[in-house]
């Protein structure tokens, strides 16, 4: 494969991860923030596949898209879903 082509897809996925991170930080709804964080994890998993690290791809898909959101949704279900607007 042409290295410029593969690295171009990597750059595109890096920008996707950046946008997803900004949306995850800005979201008031914590469930939305977890979903955007999982989207960023999917982008990073495809980056690992393109950078020829298939073993990390298998671990990271299970951890980043499976276990992180499950743990966080469990914690959110035990606490509050919406971030409160604080006055300082």
């Amino acid at each position: 494969m042409n290295p410029a082509f593969a690295l171009g897809i990597v750059l595109y996925l890096c920008v996707t991860a950046l946008v997803a991170s900004i949306l995850a930080i800005r979201a008031r709804d914590l469930v939305k923030a977890v979903a955007f964080s999982a989207m960023q994890s999917v982008a990073y998993a495809i980056i690992y596949a393109l950078l020829l690290a298939p073993d990390i791809l298998f671990v990271y898909v299970a951890v980043g898209v499976g276990i992180y959101p499950i743990l966080m949704l469990y914690a959110i279900s035990k606490t509050k879903r919406f971030e409160e607007v604080s006055e300082g």
Binding site: C14, L18, I25, L30, S37, V59, Y60, A75, K80, S86
Partner: protein, 138 residues
């Protein structure tokens, strides 16, 4: 001579640095504790991807760090050493992912305990309840 692939490679590094900066901003500036933990996972994943990208080799005939045969000949080994990506960051990152997972699980447990003790996830409110300025709800 600077090729197009090398420019894209450096641009990917800069984008990852921006993502790490967004994560650090989230850890420092957000008041909700679970939001802080989400930002922390973003920082950790970005650092892992940074290491993997550092071990990549920008060339046309790049191959994964796995030997294609069990009894390699000498010329196959020479070609492999000249074309395979660096396996050391990959070995380190696969450890770091699992350690990040354990740390995140522990921090989420602490967040649930803080909520049940103080009745809020807001960092500033937890401090004020501890000082006795505010009545705890829990």
């Amino acid at each position: 001579m600077v090729s197009v692939a090398y420019v894209i490679y450096v641009a990917s590094f800069i984008t990852l640095a921006c993502t790490a900066a967004v994560g650090v901003y989230g850890v420092l500036a957000k008041r909700n504790i679970i939001k802080k933990i989400i930002a922390l996972t973003i920082v950790g994943d970005t650092a892992n991807t940074f290491a993997i990208l550092l071990g990549f080799r920008v060339s046309a005939n790049v191959m994964p760090p796995v030997l294609p045969s069990l009894n390699p000949s000498k010329e196959l080994l020479t070609r492999f050493a000249g074309a395979a990506v660096d396996p050391v960051p990959q070995a380190l990152v696969i450890t770091a992912i699992v350690i990040n997972l354990a740390i995140t699980a522990f921090l989420l447990f602490l967040a649930v305990r803080i909520y049940s003790l103080y009745g809020t996830l807001d960092y500033g409110k937890v401090i004020r309840v501890r000082r006795g300025e505010l009545d705890g709800e829990g």
